[in-house]
């Protein structure tokens, strides 16, 4: 018994040394500089980019992380100015409108080159738009090109000869596009990846024009025309792009490389930022925001975003088939309070579907938080003080944030109107199915604009629109959006028509606007030229790194 004590500790210490060995296996000792320090020295931006991209083929993928990488690798005919969002030259050095805005002629920059040194030509665009619109490609964003004559008919197989589609290469550097009607936002769409050119010979080397899953976008295969070229793509780990030698505006590009990290876990992303492994985070965890906001010299940047959070109403299902009930519900949501408490000031109260200041368009505020009037409307509809109320259900996709908002609104309706509401959640794809089938009474919805124009929000609610989901239908509204607004001669006239449409929509209230989204990022002080804008659209060409700047004291 006496001898046991030292012997067991011998055993224990041998176990302990085994652990140390195991740990040594994992490490190869050595401190290190952070990514930010080395990045600032070498001109490498470390960028948190949401999820692993589905792919990098501009005519195949959809989504925001894809957008960031594709727009580093490729460039459209026109790009958005990161401050004003107005179009500025990209591949096209200038463009002209003729035939009252129905024809646009793009003059391509002869210096615009593919990453293999070849010139980007007008016929590359014709080939690429054929691919983007071909029914076999299955391009989910093909509708971006629908303003072009016969584009929609070609996609739907009604026109089979692409020569009938309104896009012609007049010579190597002149591209003529004919539109169905003047479309003021069309040049803006040239910065959307679904309208980008791809290098025809490269694609054909790996398969047919319309193939979705060839390896042409892999490192070593891909030929692109943007400010950067692809040098590494490690699945779920990182994507590295480096400055292109052939890009026409290369003298303006300050960064030597960008590393995109798929960061699914927002909490890990914030931690990486704190230890200077990232220059930029895609999002900020909601519970950390008050902390960051109160910090002196905070790296937290919040800006309005072109997106609206709203509730869809099934206008055919009682009790919300009555516009008075819908209005009563809309008027008894205290949005300011919701934004202040649940959303921690990270959103802006919304009273219209279109976000304010969408390229100078300010939607009218047609109603306000007014419980008094809401109760009157509800009584008028036959439910005085909520008597005889048959019940109502709010549907949302499973998510803590959506749940909190639904609970808050449930409370507001209960206390202001005296009506009972149930809330129910469904897993994402099940929820999408319910929304598409319009199988709900009230459902949570968000819409993020594809381009900066009120049309992108208001045309959701045309009769039988794919994203209408409310059964709202008014021929006068359709006429305003589809025929009158496109024919407006001035911006003022056009915006007046949008105001009229917005008024009609809020009269019938098939949706309850709740808030306007914001973009939220942590940006290291060494990063310059990353401007906040409504599209949260970055142009890496303008980004610079300034060494020697550090995170605020509170974070170190």
């Amino acid at each position: 018994m006496v001898s046991r004590q030292p012997n067991t500790s011998h055993l224990f210490s041998s176990g302990f040394s085994a652990i140390c060995c195991a740990l040594l296996l994992l490490t190869a000792c050595g401190g290190g500089e952070s990514n930010v320090v080395t990045g600032n020295r070498d001109g490498v931006l470390h960028y948190g980019n949401g999820t692993e991209p589905q792919g990098l083929d501009p005519h195949v993928v959809t989504g925001v992380p894809e957008n960031h990488i594709i727009r580093a690798l490729f460039e459209g005919l026109a790009v958005k100015n990161p401050v004003t969002l107005e179009p500025e030259p990209g591949v096209a050095e200038r463009w002209e409108f003729s035939d009252e805005g129905r024809v646009i002629t793009f003059y391509l920059n002869p210096e615009a080159k593919w990453s293999n040194g070849e010139q980007v030509t007008a016929s590359d665009y014709v080939w690429s738009w054929n691919r983007a619109l071909h029914p076999m490609t299955g391009n989910e964003y093909s509708y971006m090109l629908f303003p072009v004559v016969n584009a929609e008919a070609y996609l739907k197989g009604e026109v089979t000869d692409f020569n009938e589609v309104g896009v012609k290469a007049l010579d190597d550097t002149t591209l003529e596009v004919t539109l169905n009607a003047p479309t003021p936002y069309f040049v803006q769409l040239m910065d959307h990846y679904s309208t980008f050119a791809v290098h025809p010979e490269t694609l054909m080397q790996f398969g047919e024009m319309t193939d979705r899953y060839t390896p042409w976008t892999r490192v070593g295969n891909i030929v692109s025309n943007g400010a950067f070229t692809l040098t590494e793509w490690s699945l779920n780990r990182r994507i590295i792009v480096k400055k292109s030698e052939h890009y026409w505006d290369r003298d303006k590009v300050s960064l030597n490389a960008v590393v995109f990290y798929p960061m699914e876990n927002v909490v890990s992303e914030e931690r990486m930022f704190r230890v200077e492994q990232l220059h930029y985070t895609q999002v900020v965890p909601l519970d950390k925001i008050p902390l960051y906001r109160d910090m002196p010299d905070t790296p937290y940047v919040q800006a309005p975003y072109l997106g609206t959070y709203y509730y869809l109403i099934n206008t055919k299902r009682p009790p919300v088939d009555d516009a008075r009930v819908r209005k009563a519900l809309a008027m008894s949501v205290d949005r300011e309070k919701l934004v202040r408490t649940v959303l921690q000031e990270t959103a802006v109260a919304a009273y219209s579907i279109t976000p304010p200041d969408t390229l100078g368009y300010f939607p009218p505020k047609l109603f306000d938080y007014d419980p008094e009037q809401a109760r009157a409307l509800l009584a008028e509809a036959g439910y005085p003080n909520g008597e005889g109320w048959p019940g109502l259900e709010i549907l949302y996709n499973t998510n803590e944030g959506h749940r909190k908002i639904a609970v808050a609104i449930q409370q507001m309706w209960k206390s202001e109107l005296g009506i009972d509401i149930t809330i129910t959640n469904q897993e994402w794809k099940v929820y999408l199915d319910s929304v598409t089938q319009i199988d709900f009474q009230i459902a949570r919805r968000g819409w993020i604009g594809d381009y900066v124009d009120a049309n992108n929000f208001l045309d959701l609610f045309i009769t039988d629109g794919g994203n209408n989901n409310t059964y709202y239908s008014d021929p006068v509204y359709d006429d305003l959006i589809l025929y009158k607004a496109p024919k407006a001669e001035t911006r003022e006239e056009r915006y007046a028509l949008f105001t009229e449409a917005e008024t009609m929509l809020m009269e019938e209230m098939p949706i309850i606007p709740i808030y306007t989204y914001t973009s939220k990022h942590l940006i290291h002080p060494s990063v310059e030229g990353l401007h906040s804008n409504l599209m949260d659209s970055l142009n890496l060409k303008y980004v610079k790194l300034v060494p020697g700047r550090t995170l605020p004291e509170a974070l170190r």
Partner: protein, 312 residues
């Protein structure tokens, strides 16, 4: 022994077949499809997409076609990641997840066996209660709590170790391996304590002690081999569990392994990916169970004799 292995393999095949069939029809019965998005997809585009992935065929034909491809080792193209096959994604993530699982298992074994043996030497004393209480906490503490806690202490406050990545910065493998291994360390500690307690009361141990052997030789040379049989039996399922269950640790530490794809595939309705990962992981579980049965049989003299007697 060979016959035993052969029978076990034969038993495993129908299990895997049932897994494939059940998974195939279950994922198809869930509402929503891989091409449903928040922004509605134009019907013509959706048709083209479904045709490219054979979703326009009747379900039984899709099933037979899938089985045909599977027989040739082809798990099909991913729906979510156009341009990548399920095989490619699996084989990109597997080495990382396997490496993480292996380190976690090594850590779990070192800590677990040491603590378990240590505790078994003086049962019902502080030497027993302290490691066993720690083991209980280890079992109860989920990795989504332990991981961020370790990151906070060792990564941010002390600034000793990197907090994310895999093989990018020296030392970045330590925290994920410890996080993943700790729950298993706790199980192993309890198993080895129980195993050792049983063995230490056997006659042959008393004989060894009576011979005057020092206690550490009694433990390491005589007791350990028998005492660790429950641990060995646990290792097979544990390793398969580590591979399948590394999702949380992989997201916390940004590790490019399999776990993330496994979980996201279900949310994305990435049919081929769900099937591929399920078939792959269920085969692994069956395989590791088989291996641990064989090792346990080989370690246990009585079982070994049984095979030799019955098998010849």
């Amino acid at each position: 022994m060979l016959r035993f292995m052969f029978i076990r393999i034969l038993q495993a095949l129908p299990v895997i077949f049932v897994v494939i069939t059940a998974t195939f029809f279950l994922v198809r019965s869930a509402p929503g499809g891989p091409f449903d998005q928040e922004k509605v997809v134009i019907p013509e585009v959706k048709q083209a997409l479904e045709a490219q992935y054979r979703l326009d065929l009747p379900l039984h034909e899709q099933y037979l076609a899938y089985l045909g491809d599977l027989a040739q080792g082809d798990l099909g193209p991913s729906f979510k990641y156009p341009g990548r096959s399920v095989n490619e994604i699996l084989f990109a993530g597997l080495p990382v997840t396997a490496e993480l699982g292996l380190y976690a298992l090594i850590i779990a074994l070192c800590i677990g066996v040491t603590a378990g043996v240590f505790a078994s030497l003086k049962p019902n004393t502080a030497q027993d209660y302290v490691p066993m209480s720690l083991a209980m906490i280890g079992i109860c503490m989920p990795s989504f709590l332990l991981g961020p806690l370790l990151v906070l202490v060792f990564g941010i406050w002390l600034d000793w170790l990197p907090i994310t990545g895999w093989g990018d910065i020296p030392g970045d493998k330590i925290l994920p391996a410890v996080t993943l291994g700790s729950a298993y360390a706790a199980y192993i500690a309890r198993l080895s304590r129980a195993g050792m307690l049983e063995i230490l009361s056997q006659d042959y141990i008393r004989t060894a002690r009576a011979k005057g052997l020092p206690e550490w030789r009694v433990v390491t040379q005589h007791a350990l081999r028998g005492g660790l049989i429950p641990v060995i039996a646990f290792l097979g399922p544990a390793f398969a569990g580590l591979l399948a269950g590394s999702f949380v640790v992989e997201t916390i530490f940004q590790i490019p392994g399999l776990g993330r794809f496994y979980v996201q595939a279900a949310f994305n309705r990435d049919y081929t990916m769900i099937l591929g990962t399920t078939v792959f992981l269920s085969s692994l579980i069956v395989f590791f169970n088989l291996v641990s049965d064989i090792v346990a049989a080989w370690l246990n003299p009585r079982l070994r004799q049984q095979f030799q007697g019955g098998g010849s």
